[in-house]
Symmetry: T
Subunit: 69 residues, 12 copies
Amino acid sequence: MSDHVYKKIELVGSSPNGMEDAVKNALARAKKTVRNMRWFEVAETRGYLEEGIIAHWQVTLKVGFTLDD
Amino acid sequence: MSDHVYKKIELVGSSPNGMEDAVKNALARAKKTVRNMRWFEVAETRGYLEEGIIAHWQVTLKVGFTLDD
Amino acid sequence: MSDHVYKKIELVGSSPNGMEDAVKNALARAKKTVRNMRWFEVAETRGYLEEGIIAHWQVTLKVGFTLDD
Amino acid sequence: MSDHVYKKIELVGSSPNGMEDAVKNALARAKKTVRNMRWFEVAETRGYLEEGIIAHWQVTLKVGFTLDD
Amino acid sequence: MSDHVYKKIELVGSSPNGMEDAVKNALARAKKTVRNMRWFEVAETRGYLEEGIIAHWQVTLKVGFTLDD
Amino acid sequence: MSDHVYKKIELVGSSPNGMEDAVKNALARAKKTVRNMRWFEVAETRGYLEEGIIAHWQVTLKVGFTLDD
Amino acid sequence: MSDHVYKKIELVGSSPNGMEDAVKNALARAKKTVRNMRWFEVAETRGYLEEGIIAHWQVTLKVGFTLDD
Amino acid sequence: MSDHVYKKIELVGSSPNGMEDAVKNALARAKKTVRNMRWFEVAETRGYLEEGIIAHWQVTLKVGFTLDD
Amino acid sequence: MSDHVYKKIELVGSSPNGMEDAVKNALARAKKTVRNMRWFEVAETRGYLEEGIIAHWQVTLKVGFTLDD
Amino acid sequence: MSDHVYKKIELVGSSPNGMEDAVKNALARAKKTVRNMRWFEVAETRGYLEEGIIAHWQVTLKVGFTLDD
Amino acid sequence: MSDHVYKKIELVGSSPNGMEDAVKNALARAKKTVRNMRWFEVAETRGYLEEGIIAHWQVTLKVGFTLDD
Amino acid sequence: MSDHVYKKIELVGSSPNGMEDAVKNALARAKKTVRNMRWFEVAETRGYLEEGIIAHWQVTLKVGFTLDD
């Protein structure tokens, strides 16, 4: 691991089901174009309301991945 | 949305069941007196222990709502 | 001033014209129901885009006002 | 305590006598209109000077209180 | 409660199942050697990925406990 | 909106005319290659001086845009 | 001093009498088991209320002490 | 630029006209006694109200200047 | 007040007697060379220990003063 | 410089030799695909241990580069 | 790694030779009593001066280690 | 030390050789006009690039010195 260089990108995932699902949705989308994802960090959690009920959760996360040589 | 003015209030919700439930409890209580709630932001998550077991989770959140004209 | 107690509330103002206008819109709305407003602090500035153009600016501010005895 | 919902408000108290007195003044004023206050958190401490002498201390605090059902 | 002195320690718990489980794992381990745990505060949430899937969540928390006299 | 995943990028815009112009310049440049920009957040404001006069303002902002499926 | 290694621990002290007393109570308790304490840093000040009156102040502090060789 | 040493000072400028004018007023005053000012960073923006109207804006900024040899 | 420019300096005051005294000592020293001091902000509070007892408190504060024309 | 728009990306570099080497490794990798890099900001420094010895340092940095027209 | 629980402690290391040496000194001392150290995070860097020359560097770091079952 | 009052100033030092050298350069320049410097705190580390290579490091630091009576 001592030679690796990583890049971190910032994503926002959404889900009506909860925080963890919002994270998973962001990662599932990122996986389509980003290889070698290694870790994520939750930066912010919020949600949007309709008629006083949570319509969807929204989680901002940073995702780190290995840069290929 | 460009003409709206919002107010944000700070609430703390509790639940023995988990983080998301603590958020929902705070929103359910707020809904009794606050109209037009639009979003919330999670500010802090903590919990209280009894005999080393989580007795309840406690989440501090800010809730934004539209001010009526 | 040494005897006063102040309360601070958090508002979000919007305007298509810019940051300062967003602040003024929030204060104009607050003035309808809050007396003795003394100062504000800008907490966050953001904006929303439509077709890549700024549709409106949005400024979060805290407003301090004297509590009447 | 596991079912409670709390609201937090932000106050600024002043006193020529010191930090703790500024906190007490804010709480004494809040007590007139807020029931069931449970805790406070000191957010900021400052003071104003006249002729190089402290004219009054000023403490910003957040106060949490139980929302009645 | 006014005479108590508390100590806070920082732990990192892990779980493949989610955030709350990671907190519970840390507390279950701490309970083996720490008596009188009273509360915890979530400081950071992250996760590690394998093949683009969350292998485990990792939550950093501070735990407060009463110091015996 | 509940299914969307967003990406956030960080830009620095410059302008001799002021803060809002610096933001607009950054967005105008981003628009050439980024589709579906939805919002921005101002992260930092600074400026550079020549002979004690502001030569240009410089605003760091984060821009969020929808990731296409 | 150039060869020393210090450890910092986090404590919470309480007192009905005020902030400084809460710090002193935490240090008096720590002194029973920790040798060579050198400095402390105040991290957070809060208080708990009963009937709208401060029942006790609570100060979170970090304490640094020299590690014996 | 690699040999320069800079000093940063903190100023607060005021203006009834807006944020950018408050920055310019602070810089105009500083220019009377400080040579070789190179950049500034906006640290805080606030304003004071009279009768619910902004009487003046107030911007805290840090100014960096080259130290002469 | 709308035309004033202020400068802020950072001081550290010490006192064996407590926090407020440490602030006063810093201001008393500053008063010898700084005119027109208007306000201060407490930035950090710490203390140094000898034999487990507080030898002196140390408070870091920022002091704002009007710049003469 | 007043017309430039910059983009900032976040990288993590590693090295068994120290902090500065970790920064250089990240920049050397970035240089393969990013043109016109102008500055970097160190955001976080950490390291990983094997048998109590530092196996490699890890530095998170943000790198700013000019966007071509 | 998904089952591990880690504890983090805070140390301050010193060295007349530089930042990295101060980190190494703290880790060398910790190694005497702490097993299974896995990573560290640099929290703060400072130094002490004698006659205007750096007498020693001082680095505050958090060290994470695996808790044995 | 309990009677001392300190002042802190903010400097930015540069060096092509590395972080520690940038700190030393700032201190060497400050020593020409500031007496009784006692400690410094590193606030920010960045660097400037030319052709993708580090041209110079730049470290922002605060320096504390005793105010003479």
